[in-house]
């Protein structure tokens, strides 16, 4: 710290007036002199070069009363405020705040979910092995999936993570508490943690593993939705991984870096009309302990490792509400906001997540809903035994996700970059920036996929709810309801409308991204034009599959 000591000497020597303070009170020494005296050194009256340069020219131009000079832009950005409205839900509905502040809140919402989840395990083990006659398959892959995509993500961000049963045991191992909080000290965190305390490996601090995990699950989607035991295996594996990760690594390493569902939610939560943010940025600046991140006697350290004081997007906030409890200033709230407020992807892995998700929405539509029997045969390797066909099918999907779509994207952004030649931006910036357009488009593609899934298979849900194990029960009198597809004729029209809304959002939000990247409106327009064309082509491809 020798440099710093030198700087201190500079500070002492920066006293230009030699102690000519004329203010009231007894002292006649200047502050710098007194500082020097306190250090047992003598101020020499020299100015530091920088101090000599400073003065009026370097001062802030407005000679008014001091205003807070702290970063005002950051809170605005953190508030998701690009000139948009927000409604503070804790202010509007105080009861909501009281509920979220309850220590038992998360336990009370997770517990029923945990019980239902393990009931599904029993159903998978002992129930009907046919997918469309099995409660687990019907509830998880049809009803839950539909509710998740159509309602929870667009309106509730990552609210599913609030109630997710997967990390239940992992959290318990780390906290040794189900409800209470343990104050203490674990590294920088102000809680007593057990279980894993190692940091997640540096090279894996990204979402590539989530990307690969979701892709791998998608390759076996036909198997997962038809064989309860396959789904059971995957879920058991996820519970085991979440638990083992919690025993080795600190906080929610599984959720942050491996869970494929978390990856899906992290991407599309950007569009959500709900956000958790700080209320006043200055309060966060002045906060000494950063309790939202490090925890306090009232709340656990953020399991996701997120600092709400500078949080500017939904991606990695699991809405566990611990920060709401731990914040000593009551400065964190839930806000309602317009759809698609977070518009910035930051890394390549996030861009590829957008590619993978969009392609998979198409793959699912073709494989699970499309009229192409031969594709279903290729995907259903356990039924057909056609391993080579399945490998080819898998290879095509992997290439489409990881190579083909990114190449089309690269072509579009390169063309845009050339058209906006007056303002040169890096390809990386444009590539990642415009990949955001695939977020609203992808979400609406998934919604378009999910609607017929429920409308066509909804009657099966009534059957299995009444007879969950397929043992001939009829709990609600609906076990014998015949298979009744709802509105099959108008499904393509519904899907067309949904896709058009997705395209509209993709274009509008993409243009917002362009305007945030380019200084000139003209450059933004030119740059974004080829991406608009490519978005239209992608939407057309979806429409061909949906309506064809």
């Amino acid at each position: 710290m020798s440099d710093a000591k030198e700087t201190q000497k500079d500070l002492q020597s920066a006293d230009r007036d030699g102690g000519n303070s004329q203010g009231a009170g007894p002292p006649t020494m200047s502050v710098a002199e007194m500082l020097a005296a306190a250090r047992g050194e003598k101020a020499d009256g020299q100015q530091s070069p920088k101090a000599a340069q400073s003065g009026p020219a370097e001062s802030v131009a407005t000679p008014a009363l001091p205003k807070p000079v702290a970063d005002r832009a950051a809170p605005a950005a953190a508030a998701g405020a690009q000139g948009t409205w927000r409604i503070n839900l804790f202010e509007t509905v105080p009861l909501l705040k009281r509920i979220m502040k309850l220590r038992s809140f998360q336990f009370l919402v997770v517990l029923p979910n945990v019980l239902v989840f393990y009931l599904f395990f029993a159903v998978a083990l002992f129930g009907n092995p046919m997918g469309n006659q099995n409660l687990m398959i019907m509830i998880v892959w049809i009803l839950w999936w539909f509710v998740l995509i159509v309602f929870l993500v667009p309106f509730g961000s990552r609210v599913w993570c609030t109630v997710c049963p997967l990390p239940f045991f992992g959290d318990w191992i780390q906290r040794r508490e189900l409800v209470r909080v343990r104050p203490g000290k674990t590294g920088a965190l102000k809680n007593e943690f057990h279980g894993g305390t190692r940091p997640w490996p540096k090279k894996l601090r990204n979402i590539w593993m989530q990307n690969i995990g979701f892709l791998a699950m998608a390759l076996f989607s036909a198997l997962l939705v038809t064989r309860p035991m396959a789904s059971l295996f995957v879920f058991a594996l996820m519970v085991a991984a979440a638990t083992i990760f919690a025993m080795i690594w600190r906080l929610r390493a599984f959720c942050n870096y491996l869970c494929p569902i978390s990856g899906f939610l992290s991407l599309y939560a950007m569009t959500a009309t709900l956000e958790l943010r700080h209320v006043d940025g200055d309060v966060c600046l002045k906060c000494k302990d950063k309790s939202c991140l490090t925890g306090s006697e009232n709340g656990w350290a953020c399991p996701w490792g997120v600092y709400v004081g500078k949080l500017d997007r939904n991606n990695y906030c699991g809405l566990c509400m611990e920060c709401v409890k731990s914040c000593p200033s009551d400065n964190i709230s839930l806000f309602l906001r317009p759809f698609g407020t977070d518009i910035h992807l930051k890394h390549y892995d996030e861009a590829w997540k957008a590619f993978i998700m969009l392609v998979l929405a198409m793959v699912y539509s073709i494989t699970l809903l499309g009229p192409y029997g031969w594709v279903k045969d290729l995907a259903n390797v356990t039924w057909t035994g056609n391993v080579v066909g399945f490998l080819l099918y898998s290879l095509c999907i992997i290439l489409a996700c990881l190579v083909v779509l990114p190449i089309f994207h690269l072509i579009a952004i390169s063309a845009g970059r050339a058209l906006a030649w007056k303002e040169k931006l890096s390809r990386k910036k444009l590539f990642i920036g415009y990949a955001y357009t695939l977020v609203p488009l992808g979400l609406f593609a998934w919604i378009a996929f999910s609607f017929p899934l429920l409308l066509v298979n909804g009657s099966y849900i009534l059957q299995v709810v009444s007879d969950p194990f397929g043992w001939g029960w009829d709990l609600f009198g609906t076990a014998e309801v015949p298979w009744t597809p709802i509105l099959p004729d108008i499904v393509p029209y519904i899907q067309t409308v949904i896709m058009m809304i997705g395209l509209l959002y993709a274009i509008v939000k993409g243009y917002e991204v362009a305007r945030s990247l380019y200084q000139e409106r003209q450059s933004a327009l030119w740059s974004f034009a080829p991406t608009t064309v490519y978005l239209c082509i992608l939407t057309s491809v979806f429409l061909v599959f949906f309506t064809g």
Partner: protein, 162 residues
Amino acid sequence: MPQQSFSELTAEEVLLLAIDVERSNGIRLRTFSELFVDYAPDAAKLFAEMADEEDEHGRLLEATYKRRFGEAQRTVTEDDVQEVIEAHDLDDGEHLVFDDMNLRRALQIILKAEHQAEAFYRQATRAASDPELEELFRQLAEFEDGHVQWIETRLETLRESA
């Protein structure tokens, strides 16, 4: 205590506030150091060094206060004033999710707060009507300027070595 505007403070209160600002920044920077010690050791080391530096400056200001006003009978904290004078803060909510903290970024984070503090005191100097306050603000600005210079030098060295 209801929040006051900085411009309403007396010289004594300004000094008490400056002491609290230094102490608070020491706590913040030490927290950052602990947070990043496993992820970015060089950034963590810098945060720790700066925390020591802020603590040291807090002690110097305390000594100054004692000479000038005697034993402190009260405190004026950051929370007592409306403005933010100097508050070191992370620049991204996702630093710990992704491994994107490094020495350069840590230096930039510190530099930003020091710049803000310096600008604040300089602006206050220009707005002050009381000569004693004006002198105090000027000297506090130069106090912060020392940090700015030190950080800028380290950033420059880092740039050159890169």
